[in-house]
């Protein structure tokens, strides 16, 4: 037994895990229906895949949610994990699950996968026979991912950067990198048994004035960290920024640079896809406006040529949406995708050139770090502010970068902090952003820009 196998044994030897049988899981993955693999759907799709978010605590309610989604013509099922499980607090999740079952009230904001266990969960996943995407926000997802794949969930979202900087205040980032290394290895291992397990990065980050260059760099790094462990199918992603033109350029550069950097690192054979998130910032409280925002996002997704779109609901400003509302959002998105045909191509050579230049410059700075491994280079880049995510709550993030919207709604970098933006790009960004009388005026503009859709 290899060291990694022994480590896996330790991880699944857990109070809340009932006899994890690796041999049986391998047999299941080997024989799993191709429809469970999103990588199969990506390879054979004729349209953009549609996936919502959603998770309820009890098996019955989750099953009902999936039935509702299936009725709305869903392409990819979500499994959103509850907050206790995300923090590896399986004891609280267990207690809340019991209360949810006894009182028919949702005491959890997602599905406690560990407590349900893979044997039970697998019944549901194989029953619907659709690809399922794990949405979880967990820094230490080792046990969760083992359980997910054993359950028939063959797409794993997240990564050491994208699940840390937006979600966590002080979980040690270096630990997160190592825990995600384990996740990548597990995904890579199971990918050898059947079709590839797909990994998907979480591009929206804080969804608050994140400039495209930062989004793209983080997407590329997480992709490389995944591919270097043997993952063969990876989705890069980003969310609606509020500027149609900027989103199209972001997608172009991302689509171009993902295979470029993959090939540069000897992983040219890997498949990469693009995922687009409908608006991830603050939603309007007017539901009709929300509908309009979601519709616009679907239109942009078509323009950027996304392989998958992740939907929002008109209830976004009010909390967890009902099943019906969520299913309606899926149905509406599918409808818009059907009717939006023959959109024109959009070009902006200058914007594309500057964005590409900025991404290459940051990537070069990351690679130039003297550390002996890519994860450590990426870690150091974040630690030194070379990668800086606006409004990240994490203590390691510098938060020195300042961004705001230009008159056309595009996000511009006005103060780069330690991010090594080439002088030419910074001059371009600042020229687009315009000038301000003083810092106060700039801060007021930033506050306005954060709530731009409300």
């Amino acid at each position: 037994m290899s060291l990694f196998e022994r480590e896996r044994q330790t991880i699944v030897s857990n109070e809340y895990v009932d006899n994890f049988d690796f041999a049986e899981v391998e047999e299941f993955v080997k024989g799993a229906d191709k429809n469970l693999f999103i990588s199969h759907h990506y390879a054979t799709k004729t349209k953009m895949l549609v996936q919502p978010r959603g998770g309820f605590p009890t098996y019955q309610k989750m099953f009902k949610l999936y039935e509702t989604f299936a009725g709305a013509g869903i392409d990819v099922l979500p499994i959103t994990i509850d907050s206790h499980t995300r923090l590896n607090d399986y004891a609280s999740a267990k207690k809340m699950l019991m209360l949810s079952e006894e009182n028919e009230t949702d005491m959890l904001n997602g599905f406690p996968l560990i407590n349900h266990g893979y044997r039970t969960t697998r019944k549901m996943m194989t029953h619907f026979n659709l690809p399922v995407s794990l949405r979880h926000g967990t820094p230490d997802a080792r046990l969760l991912v083992e359980t997910a794949i054993a359950s028939g969930i063959f797409e794993i979202e997240g990564g050491p950067i994208t699940y840390m900087l937006p979600y966590s205040k002080n979980f040690p980032l270096d630990k997160a990198f190592l825990y995600w290394k384990y996740v990548e290895k597990v995904c890579a291992h199971y990918s050898t048994l059947n079709l590839p397990i797909n990994r998907e990065s979480f591009g929206p980050l804080t969804a608050t004035l994140v400039p495209p260059a930062i989004t793209i760099v983080i997407q590329l790094l997480e992709m490389l960290l995944s591919l270097e462990e043997g993952v063969r199918s990876f989705s890069v992603s980003f969310s609606q920024s509020g500027s149609l033109s900027q989103d199209i350029i972001t997608a172009k550069v991302l689509k171009k640079l993902a295979p470029h950097y993959a090939a540069l690192h000897g992983c040219a054979g890997a498949k990469t896809q693009l995922v687009y998130h409908q608006w991830m910032g603050a939603f309007p409280r007017n539901k009709e406006f929300s509908d309009a925002l979601i519709t616009t996002a679907t239109l942009v997704a078509t323009l950027v040529g996304a392989d998958k779109i992740i939907t929002k609901t008109r209830d976004e400003a009010f909390g967890i949406p009902t099943m019906e509302c969520n299913a309606q959002a899926v149905a509406n998105t599918q409808y818009i995708l059907r009717i939006v045909q023959g959109l024109p191509q959009f070009e902006d050579g200058e914007e594309e050139e500057h964005l590409e230049l900025a991404v290459h410059a940051i990537m070069e700075a990351v690679f130039n770090d003297p550390a002996d491994s890519l994860w450590r280079k990426a870690f150091n880049a974040i630690k030194h502010g070379i990668i800086d995510v606006p409004f990240s709550p994490h203590i390691i993030n510098h938060n020195a970068i300042l961004t705001l919207r230009d008159p056309s709604g595009s996000i511009r970098i006005v103060e780069p902090g330690n991010v090594p933006i080439p002088a030419r790009c910074l001059a371009y960004e600042r020229a687009k952003a315009g000038s301000f009388e003083n810092k106060t005026a700039m801060v007021e503009k930033i506050i306005h820009d954060i709530g731009v859709m409300q």
């Binding site: 480590e7 004891a91 820094p139 230490d140 040690p172």
Partner: protein, 395 residues
């Protein structure tokens, strides 16, 4: 051939290509004499450059910290001090300084911390009054830059360093950490007992806990350890615990993913009495003793069995004191623990089964869990070897 020497409060340990050895200290003579008497053959022919020494003898530096708040200044200073391998005697909250008890012993270091840069008037005459009554050797100031003139005017002997709290409330550990390890060196040079050791080594002598902490990021190269883990170094005078930072909720951003905490009264030799006292105060200990098939009479015995029980007790007490059932400096999420690594003299005494039985008792009885983390015994002092030389093997 490299020769590694660890001077502990109870044992002197050596590691070389010839293997490991440990020798009970002879307290009637100085350390260097004792070392030469016991390891003379080993020392012969080994150049000074190839001899590496670390020491936890004499308890290292005794430190008192005066700070402004428990949430920032005291917390940050404690964290840096522990990770530098230094032991903290006491802490004083500045608002209580007028009524704070003054330790009677001579202190090696007093650390003064508080405020962010830009704030002034944090410290006043109350500090000077308190320090006048205090018997100490070194004073290190790491507080707000604006109070530096007040400190340097009234306490000219103070070592002035940059504030350990930056403007974003992040911890700045390097200047203080470096100063503390330098003071440790100076302390060694001043101690006749240990300074003679520089006659046999050309390398810097570090505190043992510092060496252990330094090795932890690479521990996986030597031992089958699954993160998150803790390392227990149960010694004669103190018990050190090094823990993965993801086991605590209130984390500080430092260069290391592992922090250290020391229990000064949980040693099995020099602190035996206080260990027994702590055990007797614990509500679960009698149940634990019956699980181990002994009675409390074992506390009065001086047998091999008694030593085993004491070591098992110290494992239990450290876990208890860091669990959510005990209000202490730190609370660890022990339910998330994957591995517990035991190093130091304990690995030469306790078997894997003896360690596991304690762990299962603790997890079942205290945490109500049926599953306990994996026990890893560092029987060949791999952590120490890695920490002191940066290499896996002594050759």
């Amino acid at each position: 051939m490299k020769l590694l020497i660890d001077v502990g409060s109870t044992y002197i340990k050596t590691a070389s290509a010839h293997g490991l050895s440990q020798h009970f200290r002879d307290f009637s003579r100085p350390i260097h004499e004792d070392l030469r008497a016991k390891c003379g053959e080993l020392l012969q022919g080994v150049p000074k450059e190839d001899i590496y020494i670390c020491s936890s003898a004499n308890g290292g530096l005794s430190t008192l910290i005066i700070g402004l708040t428990h949430s920032f200044s005291l917390k940050y200073a404690k964290n840096i001090t522990y990770n530098a391998g230094i032991n903290i005697i006491d802490t004083v909250l500045y608002k209580d300084i007028a009524h704070a008890p003054v330790p009677g012993d001579v202190l090696d270091v007093v650390i003064l911390v508080g405020g962010i840069d830009g704030v002034n008037g944090v410290f006043d005459d109350a500090l000077l009054t308190y320090l006048q009554n205090l018997n100490y050797t070194n004073l290190v100031y790491v507080g707000t830059a604006q109070d530096t003139p007040f400190i340097s005017a009234n306490l000219p002997h103070a070592i002035l360093l940059p504030n350990i709290i930056d403007e974003r409330l992040h911890i700045q550990e390097e200047p203080l950490k470096t100063t503390l390890t330098n003071l440790y060196q100076a302390d060694i040079m001043g101690k006749e007992e240990i300074k003679e050791l520089y006659a046999i080594t050309a390398n810097q002598i570090y505190p043992t806990p510092y060496i252990v902490n330094r090795a932890l990021p690479r521990i996986g190269e030597q031992l089958e350890v699954v993160d998150p883990f803790i390392v227990l170094d149960i010694g004669g005078a103190t018990t050190d615990i090094h823990y993965s930072k993801d086991l605590v909720s209130e984390r500080l951003l430092t260069g290391n993913a592992y922090d250290r905490l020391v229990f000064k009264k949980l040693g099995v030799y020099k602190s035996k009495e206080s260990l027994i006292h702590a055990a007797k105060q614990n509500e679960y200990v009698y149940e634990l003793l019956s699980t181990l098939d002994v009675t409390e009479k074992i506390f009065e015995e001086h047998s091999e069995k008694a030593l085993h029980v004491l070591m098992q007790l110290s494992i239990f007490l450290v876990l208890y004191k860091t669990s959510k059932f005990h209000q202490g400096y730190i609370t660890l999420g022990l339910e998330r623990l994957e591995s517990i690594v035991l190093t130091g003299g304990i690995t030469k005494v306790l078997s894997q089964e003896e360690c596991e039985s304690i762990l299962h008792f603790f997890y079942k009885k205290i945490l109500g869990l049926h599953h306990a983390p994996a026990v890893v015994l560092d029987t060949h002092y791999a952590i120490w070897t890695l920490g002191i030389t940066g290499e896996h093997h002594v050759d």
